[in-house]
Amino acid sequence: MIYVIIGFLWVSLLIYLLMGGADFGAGILELFTAKDNKSHVRKTSYQAIGPIWEANHMWLIIAVVILFVGFPQVYTTVSVYLHIPLVIMLMGIIARGTAFSFRNYDAIKDNMQRVYNKIYVYSSFITPLFLGVIAGSAVSRKIDTESNSFLSAYVYDWFNWFSFSVGFFTVTLCGFLAAIFLVGEVKDEISKQAFRRKAVKMNVAMLIWAVILFVASIADGIPLLNWLFGNIISLLTIISAAIALVFLWIAIVKDQVAIMRLIAGFMVTMLLIAVTYAHYPNIVLLKNGDELSLLNHKAPQKTIDSLGIALLIGSLFILPALFYLVYSFGKRKHGTAHHN
């Protein structure tokens, strides 16, 4: 049963990274779009993500619940020592979620829209940045559970080159995913070109941040190279992600919407496998050399069993409903739905 739960945790993270990531990315693209075209990006992304907007963010809640029920020590350690980035991320979540719905449901569309948009785009940037910072810090061996000094216990855990490089890499990844996703959402060639250009820019930015990330990992003494290339699984997944990138560009140029989304999803999946497999089953690496492991720091067996059953039953409801939601709005967008 523990493997079922680890599976759910991993899949929730993956879907959050993909769907939530594309969703954050839409805001990031809006942030980096010239003023004249902002409203176009906004309209496209609203139409694309509106119906599944709330659902995208449920995956984070599922992951958190799995952590605090199934792996309480992991949850509490992260909560205590990464308190500050968590609070910043939460502020981002509040700002983004409310600004998105306020701008759509404000009955009067006036200057307030500019306020909502500002909040939305900046929080779309801040939230994945700090999600990345938190993820990076968890494995950076910087979390110092034994220090008495405020700075080393609660600040330097995350305020370092490596964590922020992971954060910025996550931001560019989200922007890249959004651009790929939105290319398929627009019809006319001019808009397609615009989103393709954004995809190129984001892809370049992503590669630059990947390089910075490697440099930062060396500077901070983190064996990132060893994680990614030191075991056969990670090595293979990284290589297949790299190869997939080539095919992705072919698909983008040929305008094959389904294929390019599939490949982008495949790439992210490979990246997530590469980085999680390298530490598995450990999930948090502490400064004092200890590791928090999904297998050794789990809740008592009865809790694990009931959590697993709850997740299995839950997915019986959630997955078909979610699939039908995505399917029916996808169908409607392509103009084949009937109107009554």
Partner: protein
């Protein structure tokens, strides 16, 4: 500000706001579903307009409720890590089910809000109902987790260790039913009175009267039924608390001295030093009757509770008085409204009736906040009744006061923003939803 006090204050502020957002987010879909049903049945466009207008409210409140709920799922760990480390695996079951219910709610809301003119009309209606039902289920599950803190079960606590954990038993702890019932009815009463009050105000102002009168009738019905049922569920809760958490009951009633024929103390100023209540109305024997159905039964007072295990008496007592008073006023208004509906139909066109409802707009939420204070402050100094003290659960990170200030500012801004948006929705009713008296306006 001391770290522990800051953490408690931040939790109180977060939950105080979340409880309002989520009550409205879980009850409004039912109003919407009734209006929607009436539209589908009668074809009366007025009901369709009401449904659409309310659905905007639902969307706004769902979004704020969802983010404040997400924040809370982190705050539990950010503020009370020691509690979550031990309690997470025990009382986590309702949260894992709640994840599903909440997810379904989000999916159904996607269908409902974006599904106009896309799906079969009745399928579309059902998605709206699913939003409401899964919202209620979420609410009940979260309350079940809270009730576990009041009546912990499903584990053995031996020598500081939590063993023999049974999450199912923990979920169905003794308090879950009475608390879930009381909270669910409260949500209906509070949201019903709040929404009915707003529509009543618009009726008095003679704006879009047809629209607002129909909306008022639907919400008032929910409010009235809930307000009449609530004292009954309150009685179940009080009896349970008396048996299960005598310290909380004693604080609620400012009941200092253990005795038979215990009086029911109404109002007054509790004086903990001299163990007495000044300026109160006392009904002899009524407390004994209320909790044990017998005048001569003994009710445990604060004198039997060690001082270090006593909750703050004054806060708990005042909050309880406010809740009961608000509940009684709502009960009275409800009976009056029923009289108007079934007996004195001419009252229904009188302005004073609507004025009463306008005055009662905040009462339900006042009662919700007060009741929440009773259950949380009344459990102190425990975070898990009789097992773990709140002070032992707090995060070791210093400087929580800054986080408290930040969250307070954010939640107040959210409240202001939501109020502002609702104001605009109401202002735009003649333009967006109800064109019938546009001519009158211009």
């Amino acid at each position: 500000m001391d770290n522990f006090l800051a953490a408690r204050s931040q939790m109180a502020v977060s939950l105080g706001f979340h409880i309002v957002f989520s009550c409205i987010g879980m009850v409004m879909p039912f109003f919407m579903a009734v209006a929607h049903f009436l539209w589908l049945r009668t074809g009366n466009e007025n009901y369709k307009n009401i449904t659409k207008a309310w659905s905007k409210g639902v969307a706004i409140f769902f979004a704020t409720g969802a983010v404040s709920g997400t924040v809370l799922s982190f705050e539990l760990g950010l503020l009370w890590p020691e509690f979550m480390k031990h309690a997470g695996p025990i009382f986590g079951m309702p949260f894992s089910l709640e994840g599903t219910a909440f997810f379904i709610e989000a999916i159904a809301l996607g269908f409902f809000l974006y599904g106009w003119n896309t799906f079969n009309r009745w399928f579309h209606w059902v998605t709206g109902v699913v939003v409401g039902v899964s919202g209620i289920v979420s609410g009940i599950l979260v309350v079940a987790a809270n009730s576990w803190m009041n009546s912990p079960s499903g584990f053995d606590y031996i020598n500081g260790k939590y063993t023999n954990i049974d999450p199912i038993k923990a979920m169905f702890n003794d308090a879950w039913f009475s608390q879930a019932l009381h909270m669910t009815i409260a949500a209906f009463a509070a949201t019903g009175f709040a929404v009915a009050g707003i529509h009543a105000l618009m009726i008095i102002r003679k704006q879009n009267v047809g629209f607002h009168a129909a909306a008022f009738r639907i919400t008032a019905m929910f409010a009235v039924v809930a307000a009449i049922l609530q004292p009954l569920s309150g009685d179940i809760s009080a009896k349970f608390v008396a048996k299960n958490q005598p310290a909380k009951l004693a604080a609620m009633e400012a009941h200092f001295k253990t005795q038979t024929y215990s009086p029911l103390i109404i109002g007054g100023v509790p004086d903990t030093k001299n163990q007495e209540v000044k300026y109160a109305v006392e009904l002899p024997g009524m407390l004994s009757l209320m909790v044990n159905d017998k005048f001569d039964s003994e009710v445990i007072g604060l004198d039997r509770i060690p001082v270090k295990d006593q909750p703050p008496v004054a806060v708990t007592h005042y909050a309880f008085q406010i809740m009961v008073a608000a509940g009684m006023v709502m009960l009275g208004i409800s009976l009056l409204y029923l009289l108007a509906v079934f007996k004195f139909k001419q009252w229904l066109s009188k302005e004073w009736l609507f004025k009463i409802f306008v005055a009662a707009t905040p009462l339900g939420f006042l009662a919700v906040e007060a009741g929440w204070t009773v259950t949380e402050v009344g459990r102190q100094p425990w975070i898990i009744q009789g097992v773990m003290r709140t002070a032992d659960a707090v995060t070791p990170m210093p400087g929580i006061m800054y986080s408290f200030y930040l969250f307070t500012v954010v939640y107040f801004s959210l409240a202001v923003a939501v109020t502002f948006l609702l104001g605009r929705q109401i202002k735009m009713v003649p333009v967006i939803y109800d064109h019938t008296n546009l001519n009158l306006q211009s």
